[in-house]
Structure formats: structure tokens, C-alpha cells
């Protein structure tokens, strides 16, 4: 969410949510609101249907005939549902903030259900709930999986899993909405998806720039990753498939992989290094990408958020190392130790969730090492990136505020103390930004703890439960083994909620809650 938007936008980011005495005066949602929301939702569902033609085409191309009905049914469902909504509810010129938020929250929920249809029909999931879990995990770029016998899943279904990661990471709205909604309505939907970077003056050109960056890296990443595999003797079509899938999951910090062994499947340190590079690039804000693309390389050095990110990487790695202690001597060489420990940590910090060890390996780590990774996962990457978690800028603002308060006490009474930081340009820390940052941070902490408490209540240890909960909420995808098809249904449902809330950063979900409660009230 949108903290840095506050630095460029003179108005409050969420006018409808300003914490003023007028909060209780927010009008209830009316039937007209519901009509606008339903129409917009219909548009999104139609786009979702068209999106599924990509794996369908791949299935035809690869002659995976049994897969066709799975996708055809899902596409027909999307077109009918979307068509009915568009027909019943009249078109609207523009949607307002409140409606935009609810459209976003509902789109993600409906997309989860509709996208789960082909996955469930593949026969690789125990239940429809498991397929829904997989879809929410993909859209939210989490990477926790419940798929079974992944190694025999069709390429079309596998591609669909990774395409969902790409679409979710970029933002469903960015994929579909920007081209369907005009004017400021598009920006409202864009913000609802926890993005707010006005890189360029126009939201459409901003979206185009984001697609330009992602498209360029997609080509580059696919070439490099596929090249790595071709050099290992893998056939070109297979290598390209793996390259595309791993890139989409890495760049969008999702952590899915086409095979059950995840990145360990490739047994290739160079391949692992490339996944680290692309996931780091994915965890960096698009505003920084823009600065670099336009030749402003000094932004890399000066950007405060980037500094906080790298400081937290070092700090969390030190905690992890301390946790290893004498255990590190069990590794055959220092290189082996760094390969395993640093990969998991970067994977956790960027939120990508790739792993080059089996799940049981993480469960063997000491609690302090796990806490180091938990800290990294909880913090996450940059704002306006594809990664999840609290985000480096919010953590940075928190430390700036502490420094400001300490300085206030140190200076004579009445002295005006100000803290500055560089994020695209020199900015002052003001109370409104800090309040919003802390609100979101607190929401995240509650979300992390809720999953941990539930996991502990269900008979797991607290640290593993916290690890899994943070992994789900911060959209990371590393696991110590709690997430599996036989886990309790309540935990699956809770993790779905955590992934959804964590990806959309709460505000849109809160608005949806209010919408459901007040709909129809006068």
C-alpha cells in the first residue's frame, strides 16, 4: 500500500477513510453502489475468461487433449457470469474510491474461485478448497502449494499456475482494469491493489511503463534461465517452458516452480543465482526501476527504502547465522553453508519463496535461525514492487520517527525538529505518513500473530506456526511443512484470508466488510 503516494498526492490517499471525527458520517453503501460494483466486476470476470485462453492454446499446441474441457468449462463460466453481470447492471462512467476498493477486493476473491475450476478438474487436488488455496497463493504471489503429484501435472495447467503468479504480481487490475476503466477510476482501482506509484503523470502510461519493464525482464530472464538449462542438455522447448515459468514466479516473487523439488530440481548453482537476481529485481520498487531506466543511477545509491532493505537483509542474515552457531560446522564447506542459508534468507526477504532444499531441511533449522528468516519475511521488499510484507519504507519511517522523537527530547523545548529522507526526491517525515505506515504495520502484525496462534492451537509448535503464518501473510511461500494437503480446513481457510489481506494490504478488504454490512441500510 500506498505510502509513498502521500508524498506526491496533495489529497489524503483514502479520502473515505480519513481518521477524522467525520468517519462515522460515511454514507452507507446503496444499491446504486452495488450496481456499479457488479458491472465493474463483470468486466474483470470477462477478462479473466480471456486470460484462460492462453493455457488453452498451449494445451492445443502441445496436444494435451484431456486438458481442453477443464479450461473450456472455466472460460464458459467466466463469460456467462461476466456477461450476465454486464447485462443486468448498467454501465457507469466512472467509479469512486469506495466502489473501486470493493471491486478490487471482490475481483481477487472471484478470480480465485473461477481460476480454481481448471486446476480442480485436473485431478491433482484433494478438494476444490485446495485448488482455491493454490489460486489465491498464485495470485497473491505467495507460493504455498497444495497440489499433488506436481511432476505429472500437464504443462497447460502448470503454465496456468505460473501465469496466475505473473498476473497477480503485476496486479489483476493492472492487467485488465487499466485497459477497461477510464480516467481517475482506473487509478482508484490501481491504488486498491496496494499500488500507488505515479511514475508517469498518467495512470495508463504508468501501466505501460510497468509492462515495458516486466516484458523486457521476461524476455531477458527467459533467455538466461533457458540458456542455463540448454547448456545442461535440456531440449529447447522444455528449457523455454521452465525458463518462462521460473522467471514469472521469480520476478513476481511468487515462488512456484514447475516441479515438486522447486529450484533444487535443477541442481544448478548458476540457475539459483539467476533466480536470486530476478527476485531481488522484483522486490525493488518500480519507481527505482524507472529512475534507472531513465539514467538516474544515483537513485540506487540515495534511495532510502533501498538502504533500509539492504540493512535489513544484513541484520536478518546475522540473526540467522547466530542461530546456526555450531550447526554451521555440519556443512561440508563454507560455500555450501552460504549457498543454503543465504538462498533461503533472500528468498524469504524478497518474498519469492523459492527453495533449494527440501521442506524437511528448514524444519531442522534452530529456532533462532528460523526467527531470522521470519524477520526477513515479515519485513518484505519495497513498496510498489511485487513483493509482500510490511515493506522497507514503512520500517524506515518507523526508525526515522524514533530518531525524530529522541532528537526532540535532546534539543531545547520549542525547537522544530525535522527528519528527511530520499525517495525519488528529498522528503520530510510527517505525522500523517507515519500514522498510516504504523496502522498498516500493526495490521500486518495482528495478521501474523493470528495465524501463529491458530497454528499453535491446532497442535503445532509456536515458531513453526509463526513461520508459516508470516510466510502466508507476507506472501512469501517458504514452508516448514505445516502447509500440506492434509492440514486442517480451518487453517487452509485462514491462510487464504491471510494471503488475500496481505496482498491487498487490508484497506480494500475493510471496505468490502463495510460494504457487506451496510448494503441496503438507509
Amino acid at each position: 500500500m500506498p505510502i509513498d503516494h502521500l508524498f506526491v498526492c496533495p489529497k489524503p490517499l483514502y479520502p473515505c477513510l480519513s481518521l477524522s471525527p467525520n468517519f462515522s458520517m460515511i454514507p452507507n453503501f446503496s444499491r446504486e453502489d452495488a450496481s456499479v460494483i457488479a458491472h465493474s466486476l463483470g468486466r474483470m470476470i470477462i477478462i479473466l475468461g480471456f486470460l484462460q485462453t492462453l493455457p488453452l492454446t498451449l494445451a492445443v499446441f502441445l496436444r494435451e487433449w484431456p486438458v481442453l474441457p477443464d479450461f473450456l468449462l472455466s472460460i464458459v463460466c467466466c463469460l456467462i457470469l461476466g456477461g450476465i453481470l454486464l447485462t443486468i447492471f448498467p454501465p457507469v462512467e466512472e467509479i469512486n474510491w469506495r466502489q473501486g476498493m470493493i471491486v478490487v477486493a471482490l475481483t481477487w476473491l472471484v478470480a480465485m474461485f473461477l481460476s480454481a475450476v481448471p486446476l480442480y478438474l485436473s485431478g491433482h487436488f484433494n478438494s476444490f478448497l485446495d485448488a482455491c488455496f493454490e489460486c489465491m497463493s498464485a495470485y497473491a504471489t505467495t507460493g504455498l502449494v497444495l497440489v499433488q503429484d506436481l511432476d505429472h501435472l500437464s504443462l497447460a495447467h502448470n503454465f496456468w499456475r505460473h501465469l496466475m503468479c505473473f498476473v497477480g504480481g503485476q496486479g489483476i487490475i493492472l492487467v485488465a482494469g487499466i485497459f477497461l476503466f477510464r480516467g481517475s477510476g482506473a487509478f482508484r482501482l490501481y491504488v486498491g491493489e496496494a499500488r500507488d506509484a505515479r511514475i508517469l503523470p498518467n495512470i495508463r502510461t504508468t501501466a505501460q511503463f510497468i509492462w515495458l519493464v516486466s516484458g523486457t525482464y521476461l524476455v531477458l530472464g527467459t533467455l538466461l534461465l533457458s540458456g542455463c538449462l540448454v547448456l545442461s542438455g535440456v531440449k529447447l522447448p522444455q528449457a523455454i517452458f521452465h525458463g518462462v515459468c521460473v522467471f514469472m514466479a521469480g520476478w513476481d516473487t511468487a515462488g512456484f516452480a514447475p516441479k515438486s523439488l522447486n529450484i533444487l530440481y535443477y541442481h544448478n548453482p548458476l540457475f539459483e543465482l539467476l533466480t536470486i537476481i530476478f527476485s531481488l529485481l522484483g522486490a525493488i520498487s518500480f519507481t527505482i526501476h524507472y529512475a534507472v531506466w531513465t539514467g538516474h543511477f544515483h537513485e540506487l545509491k540515495q534511495n532510502y527504502e533501498l538502504r533500509v532493505l539492504f540493512s535489513s537483509v544484513i541484520l536478518s542474515y546475522l540473526i540467522t547465522l547466530a542461530g546456526f552457531g555450531t550447526l554451521s560446522r555440519q556443512f561440508p564447506s563454507p560455500l555450501a553453508f552460504y549457498r543454503i542459508s543465504f538462498y533461503q534468507l533472500i528468498s524469504g526477504h524478497t518474498g519469492v519463496g523459492f527453495s533449494n532444499v527440501p521442506v524437511s531441511e528448514l524444519a531442522n533449522w534452530s529456532e533462532l535461525s528460523l526467527l531470522g528468516v521470519i524477520f526477513a519475511m515479515a519485513l518484505g521488499g519495497c513498496t510498489n514492487s511485487t513483493s509482500g510484507g510490511i515493506k522497507a519504507l514503512r520500517a524506515g519511517l518507523f526508525f526515522k520517527t524514533i530518531r525524530k522523537e529522541v532528537r526532540k527530547l535532546a534539543y531545547p523545548e520549542g525547537t522544530i525538529v525535522q527528519e528527511r529522507f530520499h525517495h525519488q526526491r528529498e522528503l520530510l517525515v510527517d505525522d500523517r505518513q507515519v500514522r498510516l505506515a504504523l496502522t498498516i504495520t500493526l495490521c500486518y502484525i495482528f495478521l501474523y500473530l493470528s495465524g501463529a496462534i491458530l497454528g499453535t492451537f491446532l497442535g503445532n509448535g509456536f515458531v513453526p506456526s509463526l513461520f508459516e503464518s508470516v510466510s502466508a501473510s507476507a506472501n512469501v511461500g517458504l514452508s516448514v511443512g505445516l502447509t500440506n494437503p492434509s492440514m486442517p480446513t480451518i487453517l487452509k481457510l485462514w491462510y487464504i484470508l491471510q494471503m488475500w489481506c496481505g496482498r491487498l494490504e487490508f484497506i480494500a478488504i475493510f471496505m468490502l466488510g463495510r460494504f457487506l454490512v451496510t448494503l441496503g441500510r438507509k
Binding site: 494435451e64 473450456l72 450476465i84 545442461s232 555440519q330 560455500l335 549457498r339 532444499v357
Partner: protein, 188 residues
Amino acid sequence: MKNYLMVFFILTWLLLGYQESCCQEAVNSQGRVSVATLFSQAKSYHGRTVTVQGEVIGDIFLRKTGFWVNLLDGDKAVGLWVPPELKKDINILGSYKRRGDIVRVRGIFYWQCPEHTGTPDIHVFSLEIILPGYEETMYLDSGELIPILLLAIIGASTITLFRLFRYVPSANPLPDKNNHARDSRWTR
């Protein structure tokens, strides 16, 4: 001192014996161990010769002194580091369209392999095909398409009907007392 040494040796023997018995519990009558057991008791099996059985899946990754292939046993997979002369024994690798060869391999299991910078693997020295792989038959069941076609027809008809008889609000928001029908209209 003698007593201490005696106690130490007895304790060591008991501990090693316990560890051995733990490992043996997981080994079946054919002397083979599952991949899940290997990972769950990784420290116990580290550096020991094991026999595992499963389906070879995915791709072969060639290296200068051997090649990598992955073996799937139940829902767990493990990497096999195989010498080049055994490559000819593997014919079909498992995927969506193929069931890979079921092989029984014997080799040394490493939890943190010293040769391959710390990742878990099995260094294979013998490989035997238990059941050859085969191609799956892929066909489109036209019976599955009929309900989808019916659904599409019903859906399209419903949308068409909605479009034909939808309610269109009037442009004039003020009600006309004389003629309520002018406030709004049904198309048709």
C-alpha cells in the same frame, strides 16, 4: 577411570545401536528405504549406502563427470547424481504424457553433499530398471464437451434474453404524474 570408560563405551554403543535401529525400522524387507524417510532421518542416513526405488522424472541435466536426474518416490523426490555410463539404462522420464521408468538405485546418500555444495542427493553406483516406463494415451473425451456446449448455449440464451428485455431507466429523473410509463421503459 576404567569404569568411566566402560560406561562411556556402553552408552556410545547403546546410542549407535538405537540410531541403527531407527534407521532399520524404515528399511523394508527388500533393504530399500523411502525418500521420505531419508529426508526425515537425514542425519542418520548421511554418508550411508542406501537403496531407493521410484520413478525417474522430468529431465536429465548433463555435467562433465556425470548427470543429474530426479527420482520420485511417493510424494517426495530426490536428486540422483549418476555416472555417465548408466545413462543408457534410463529410457523414459516421467511427465504428464509419460510414466517414467521405475528404477531401483543403490548409492550413497548425502544430506549435505560435499561434492555439490551442500544440497541433498544420492551418488548412484548401480541402477536397475524394475518396470519400464510407457507413454500415456491422450485423447479428448467428446462426452465431456457436451455439457460445456449445453452450458454455453444456456448462458448465451440467458444473456440474450436479458439484453432483449432489460430495464432501462429514464433519462428524466422527475416522475410524470400523468404517465408513469414514461418514467422508464422496457425495451420492446
